[in-house]
Amino acid sequence: MSDTKRFLYVNRKAPHGTVYALESLEVVLIGAAFEQDVSLAFLDDGVFQLVKKQVTTGIGVKNFAPTYRALGDYDVKKLYVERESLAERGLTEDDLMEVTHENDDEEDVSSIEIVDRARMAQIMAAQDVVLSF
């Protein structure tokens, strides 16, 4: 087996009420150094992690949401967000923050791809290692 595996980080939980979103992101950042094929899946309440304009000063907790926007610098470029999960929660793509990376032509392109549930299932199926938090 080659040393490169497909790693998927599955995010199904809302941010701030529990630490899972934050500590999951910490794994992604560390994992980026290992040069694997990394994808992030956001479905169910995990889609709330990417909602823009999160302001956490009122709850006295550090806001880690800006870190998602830095993922491109770590060569983490594939963030899949499930369309059905958004819709059920009254959200649209416009409610999500911008996460971009530089493509081969040095243009900033979006790292977020909205996918339907069937495609999300295919993405999950194609992985070697699935980390859920």
Partner: protein, 103 residues
């Protein structure tokens, strides 16, 4: 004997808000805190409909600092839901005879 009910989990993932609303009585207050505030976002969702149906029997409140942390503007909540701060949470607890947490 009025009650302040608190709900702290997302109603999209857990049954606690549904169960709370099924047991709250007229004159009670329901306060959404922590991850439960995602249910207060206005829109044509199942949860928004459930909250509307529960009013005006109960009053529905949502914790502002938790709303802000989830990126939901205070004016984007379901109509009739009041936004309170921690002091308002204390007031709700004081002005109702007891509080019940739906954990």
């Amino acid at each position: 004997m009025s009650t302040l009910h608190t709900v702290n989990k997302s109603p999209y993932e857990r049954g606690s808000l549904d169960s709370c609303l099924a047991h709250a009585l007229p004159g009670d207050a329901v306060l959404l805190i922590e991850d439960a505030v995602v249910g207060a976002r206005a829109g044509s969702t199942r949860v928004a409909e459930a909250l509307k149906a529960a009013m005006p029997g109960c009053t529905i409140h949502v914790l502002g600092p938790d709303l802000a942390a989830r990126g939901i503007p205070a004016d984007a909540v379901v109509e009739g839901v009041s936004v309170v701060d921690y002091g308002g949470f204390v007031d709700l607890a004081a002005t109702h005879d007891k509080s019940q947490a739906w954990l």
